[in-house]
Amino acid sequence: MKVFFSEFLNKYFPNIVELQNYLYSSVRETLVMIVITGAIGLTLGLFLGIVLVVSAKGGLYESLRFHNVLEKIVNIVRSIPFVILIALLVTFTRFLVGTSIGVKGAIVPMVIGIIPLASRLTEQALSEMDKGVMEAAKAMGISKPYIIFHVLIPESLPGLVRALVTCFISLIGLTAMAGSVGGGGVGSFAIRYGYNRYMTDVTIVCVFFLLILVSIVQGIGNRVVNKVTH
């Protein structure tokens, strides 16, 4: 069995076998990028999404002018294609983390790139909240911050988790793209060997890995959604 398996690999995935250490480190880099940018980007996105919702018309801290400015900024950043965002942010990235390439260099544009999406999706999930429930909480004499953290967010949990899953999946796409312009990870592995050197088996394995990653995230997400939906 074992012999058969290694023969199979040698026959159909010769380059992968040869570059397996590179593969492992790329996978690790990708995971690191996703975890770090996810932690930072999604937290900031979530925060901005909440700010957008509570400052909107009829929100707890209604402030239309502020809301409109914030919304414009988010929309502008969102409309910039990611590859161009990376180029645009080179100087800023260097200033912040000392380099604009590799995993470190990729994190900054990825965080900036995911925030608009994360805040938009958060805003959407939160604005589905039943206004009557918020009103009932107000009528009970509950303070605004408490309403945000104990009514708005928990009651929107299923929608928020769905939003997070979508963001994570987009992030996986971003890591691949960042990799293609020198960011490291599975993306750069696929470009450097699979694309530039015609090693189709490398491309296939990279795609396969990303697919698995996406389905794992989606699977976990669905489970959590089921758990928090009553």
Binding site: D130, G132, V133, E135, A136, K138, A139, M140, G141, I142, S143, Y146, H150, V151, P154, E155, L157, V228, H230
Partner: protein
């Protein structure tokens, strides 16, 4: 915890209470729990200004059940929402239990709101929390001790007859049960006032009756002042002692329920009164084309509503004798408002148009309400 805070004036309140006529009126009305004075509120919308409240003043006595009725858009919700300042009036005073709410700081207002319970048409429960957690929610916010919360919630669930549903989620409950949870939650902080905005409008007649019964019981047991917003006159009939009728942002008529039912003055009030006595089956029967041709021979059917103390007056005999009209009685019934009877008769009158007109104005002088029977209108659903 629920010591009976009853004052003598409320001791005999049941579901349908005899209005305690024997008590001098001033005792009942002495303590005002809610005083609304000259409230005005205009909404500025893209489609123009909407005057939702126009110089509205109301006094609501402690321990009473006060009804506000009006058609959709009359400003009822806006009015009830001023009582806990969810809606801030442009001008006027809101005085609750002796305190002017407009003078309170945000923190003080929040404290005050804890003493004013509110329930809604769509229940507004927290979907992600169990029945127990929903009722406990305001207590948790007030940082009550865990044990105290547990006791209080258990007691409240018993009060609304839902002890067995503590662990259920709102999605697993019927509408009536959801409203019971909402009531328990609204009462958690032991408020003196309960505001009900169309609380029974999403419920079927049986469930409505049971919720109203519960409210009447709470009113009696806790000496709770209850304000009920509704577009159903039957709700007023069943539990309100006093009622205010709203139209176009104004209170056009108010008073003791029996008086409003028996001697409505404004047209809108009369229409509301008729809805209670209206028998849709009979109306439908009397307005069907084929039936009309067959049985009525072009005669008109009328719906008469008269007070109990006038019931022994021979109105029908008068119509026959004085006006020489043919009158046949189709259907009669009696409704009780505040335990006093109000009669309802469907009659078909045959005679010359002029004399019928005279007869009707005679009846109206005698304070009998006369409505030509028209096709039943499906009751409008309130959003």
């Amino acid at each position: 915890m629920h010591t009976d805070r009853n004052t003598g004036g409320c001791a005999d309140k049941g579901f349908i209470r005899p209005v305690s006529r024997s008590l001098p009126l001033y005792i009942k009305t002495e303590i005002k729990m809610i005083k609304l004075q000259h409230l005005n509120k205009t909404f500025h919308t893209a489609g123009g200004d909407v005057e939702a409240l126009r110089d509205v003043s109301l006094d609501i006595p402690e321990g009473s059940i006060f009804g506000v009725i009006g058609y959709s858009g009359a400003g009822k919700s806006t009015l009830i929402r001023t009582i806990n300042l969810l809606e801030k009036p442009d001008s006027g005073e809101v005085i609750v239990d002796g305190e002017n709410l407009m003078d309170l700081s945000t923190g003080e207002l929040e404290k005050k709101r804890q003493k004013i319970g509110m329930i809604f048409q769509h229940f507004n429960l927290l979907k992600g929390k169990t029945v127990f957690e929903n009722v406990a929610f305001p207590l948790v916010y007030q940082k009550k001790k865990k044990k105290e919360i547990e006791e209080r919630v258990t007691e409240l669930l018993e009060l609304v007859d839902l002890s067995d549903k503590a662990k259920a989620y709102p999605s697993q409950l019927s509408g009536g049960q959801k409203q019971r949870v909402a009531i328990a939650r609204a009462l958690a902080a032991d408020p003196k006032i309960l505001l009900c905005d169309e609380a029974t409008s999403a419920l079927d007649p049986q469930t409505t009756a049971s919720i109203l019964q519960l409210l009447a019981r709470l009113n009696k047991k806790l000496n709770l002042t209850i304000v009920i917003i509704t577009h159903q006159m039957s709700v007023i009939r069943d539990i309100c002692e006093t009622v205010a009728v709203m139209e176009d942002g104004q209170v056009v008529e108010q008073g003791d329920s029996y008086k409003i039912f028996s001697e409505p003055e404004k047209d809108i009030t009369k229409r509301f009164v008729e809805t209670v006595f209206n028998n849709d089956e009979i109306s439908r029967l009397l307005t069907q084309k084929e039936l009309q041709d067959k049985f009525l021979n072009g005669d008109r059917a009328y719906h008469l509503i008269f007070r109990g103390d006038n019931a022994n007056k021979p109105y029908i005999a008068d119509l026959v004798r004085k006006f020489d009209l043919d009158v046949s009685i189709i259907f009669g019934s009696i409704e009780f408002v505040s335990n006093r009877p109000i009669g309802s008769l469907y009659v078909v009158i045959n005679g010359s148009e002029r004399i019928i007109k005279e007869a009707i104005s005679f009846l109206r002088q005698e304070k009998v309400l006369v409505f030509p029977v028209s096709e039943p209108v499906l009751e409008e659903k309130v959003s």
